[in-house]
């Protein structure tokens, strides 16, 4: 892009090209990703669907820098993940990515608020995290739940807290792995609604799901078939 020209395209948060990831070795090796391409722009919610074991979570982990592809390239925050050291990946996760998991993974010894605040204690996040955490808790209607421990909360409350935790460092990219997979229908709708709200402005969301409702609220739905993504 030449300087001086107006940019009208949305901000591209992550771009992955020709991703290959195989599990196992030799004749038992299985390529779950076989030349997959994907991009996510700011402001969009992308749903990723496909049968169990087709590699949806693997792709999510690769995009978030939790794992490395066997082949292909991923660009996140202007940096190529395959060239980054483990320390570099950690720093990218800290500043650019938030994760939401199917099983919430809240820490049982901490209260809801402490769980939300924990990533905010990481060194490079400035001093705004506590205020942002409180604002998130308020805006998600979790003020009462935040004072309790996870064991005392419903699944929906736990998942909303885990979304607040993922957002506390204000990441551009939110990666959600089956966030409604462990919730009843009503709680699931609540969470989807929340994710829809999150995907806006300069933030994008990739949602791995089996949930048909989730696919309906998405801006784009991608299907993973035979290791490749089709729209």
């Amino acid at each position: 892009m030449r300087p001086g020209f107006l940019t009208l395209e949305p901000l591209r948060l992550v771009t992955a090209t020709a991703l290959v990831k195989a599990y196992g070795a030799g004749r038992a090796a299985r390529r779950v990703l076989d030349g997959a391409d994907i991009h996510i722009d700011a402001g969009e919610l992308v749903a990723l669907v496909g049968p169990s074991g087709c590699g949806k979570s693997t792709l999510l982990h690769l995009l978030g820098g939790l794992d490395r592809p066997d082949e292909g390239s991923i660009e996140l925050g202007g940096r190529r993940l395959e060239r980054e050291s483990e320390r570099g990946l950690t720093e990218l996760r800290r500043s650019h990515v938030g994760f939401v998991f199917q099983f919430f993974h809240l820490i049982p010894e901490l209260t809801g608020e402490e769980n939300v605040l924990l990533p905010g204690r990481l060194r490079t996040n400035g001093g705004g995290a506590p205020a942002r955490a409180r604002a998130l808790i308020e805006s998600l209607g979790l003020a009462e739940a935040a004072a309790r421990r996870p064991a005392q909360l419903s699944g929906g409350e736990q998942q909303r807290l885990s979304i607040a935790r993922a957002l506390v460092n204000d990441p551009r990219l939110l990666l959600a792995d089956e966030p409604t997979g462990n919730l009843d229908e009503e709680s699931g709708l609540h969470v989807l609604d929340l994710l829809r709200q999150v995907a806006g402005g300069d933030r994008g969301v990739l949602l791995v799901t089996h949930d048909a409702e989730a696919a309906r609220i998405a801006d784009r739905v991608l299907r993973l078939e035979h290791g490749r993504l089709v729209e």
């Binding site: 939790l66 794992d67 950690t90 996760r93 994760f99 099983f103 990481l122």
Partner: protein, 753 residues
Amino acid sequence: MRLPGGPLASVRRLRARPGRSLVAALGIAAAAAMLGTALTVGYGLHTGFDRAADRADLPDVIARFDNQPVGRVESRLRALPDLQATAYRQEYTSVPIFTGRRQTGNGIVQVVGPGRRGYAIVAGRDVRGPRDTVVERGLARSWHVRVGQELGVGQGRLRVVGIAVSPDNVAFPLAKGPRVYVDRSALGPGFVAHPRTNLALIWLNDPSQLAPVLTQARAASFGVGGLTFLTRSGVRTTIDQAAGIVIALLVAFSVIALASAGVMLAASASADVQRRLQGIGVARALGFSPGSVAAQYALDSTVLALPAGMVGIAAGALVSYGSSSRLLESINELPPGAALLGPLALGLVAVIALVAAASAWPAWRAARRPVVAVLRGGDVAPAVRTSRLPAGFVGLGMRLAATRRRRMLATVAVLGVSGGVVLTMLAMAHLLDRLQHDPGLVGKRYQLTVDLPPSRARAVARIPGVAAAAPRYVTFAADSFQLGEGLKVVAYPGDHTPFEAPPLAAGRRVRSPGEAEVGTGVADALGVEPGAELALELPTGREVRFRVVGLVRAFDNDGRVIYTQPPRLLAADPSLSGPIAVKLADGANQAAVERRLRRLGAPPPQPATTATTRNAGFLGVLAALLRAVALVDGIVCLYILVQALALTARERRSTIAVLRASGAGGREVRLVLLGAALVAVLGAAPLAVAVELLVFAPAVSRLAASYVSLPLGVQIWQVAIVVLGMLVLAAAAAALAARQLGRERVVAGLRSD
């Protein structure tokens, strides 16, 4: 249903998880190293005397008497019942012995005749001709004398043909004078033709008949003056006492180390089972019996414990063998050599058995629980009240650790006991250092002695900065030990406690010239107690008598010391003199006092002497040994912490993985683990101090010796060192465990649920 496979299947299982197997093996090796150290030190010291006595063919009785013709003594001894053999020596004391660079006037020359020797040749050969000499090993070591070298003995020069060990005395320089052996022919044909003797070695057919033999020997000794008997058990007691406080301390340590190693092995094996709870659950779900599961764990542990235990025991033995051998040599005993292999092998068997049992038992218990509960394993953390702990990553680590209360208590207990052992070792090593440098430890309250006549004591006392001054008369009275060491008699005019105040164990202090306080070493040796009458023979040959009024725990002269007032001593020996002991006032300038003393015409004042033995090197070896043991124990503490952290990390994989997914790097993971380690360390530190003060120090003091009072209480700086050391260990353990975690893929942790 039984689980398939034998040892080879166990090897495959262990190789399938190399990291964990290595950590478990390291733990077993560390505990086995402690066991190896304890066995080497304990076995070596416990059996050292018997080993040396057997090798040297030490006689059952050593009789000393005035010079006699050999034939006369022999005819008397032949009449004794149950006699197996005799040998005769002529002993000369205070003989000059010298090499090119060293000399002493305290040499002991023993002229040996035909027959059994009573010493073991450990290098070279025995004496054969008039120019030959065999030297004791202590002399060879301390003066670097080698076989083939020339040695000055008396007025002549002899060739050293051999080096000998005889455990009837401690070794030079722990003993006052070095001992050499020469053949009768060295004293000329006249002596060969008409040999004389003042020392007889007696071997019996049945040593249990010793008492009647001695009774008969006394009855048959008419006309033989100065007769004393030293039995084999008497030699043993005396040498143990002469070796000071340390042998029993080290044996006590061995017992403590054994207990620590056992607890550690059990904790380690139990932790490994805890890690593999899910595997147990799966095996049970598939229908395998609890017995089969337990047997598999026992076999896996055995396969792991065999090489790890061998390495650990060998390492422990190698680390401590040198120091304990030097200790044994200084008391004329022999290191165990190949004989140690048996106990070490037994130790290895014990390690394997303990590890197998410690693995099988929790596996058996786990396998008998409902399968669902076992499958859930340790990954479900119960909600406990930990909100009072600090926030942040360190606080999170503390909460994670505090969740597992039982395990944390077990870790704190093992760590606390280990810390207590380290504190005890440091306290003992410090005590040995102080024996060399701190006069206060041996009950001396004066700082200087100055060589002036007793009549100048008042002038000295008037010097500014001097709190008190008095003549300190010292003499050595005859004793029954014949170790070249007499009973030390110390006398001050009036009250001696301002100058020397060893703790009073029984009775009271001296109040009049006819009274005496005796060290417990004297009391043990002579069987005296308060109220008894003590008769002493002074070097002048005059006898003095005192009424024993008190029993004191004195380090000085290994407790063979007597405190009294001078009039009776001076009456028996008017030439008796001594320096003036000078006690400085608090805050006095010692240099200024020394200058004023020199102005009185005194030679340079001497600092108060301290060591209970003459050999500072001996104490140094012991202190080094104790510090080495403390170091080994420190490594064990590190292992315990790493093990506890690894277990916490294993259980909380998903928590750590979520943190890492959120952008937590190595630093934050280390902080979390540091927090978990801190909970253990902060609990263990006060426990270590309490265990040392309330259990180990009193127990070791009691075990150490009856003739001294051991101030084994810990100092603040020692506690600080141990606490700081534990914190450093916590940081190191956190770094090690975090490094291990850093190698694991984040995704693997996220999938652990």
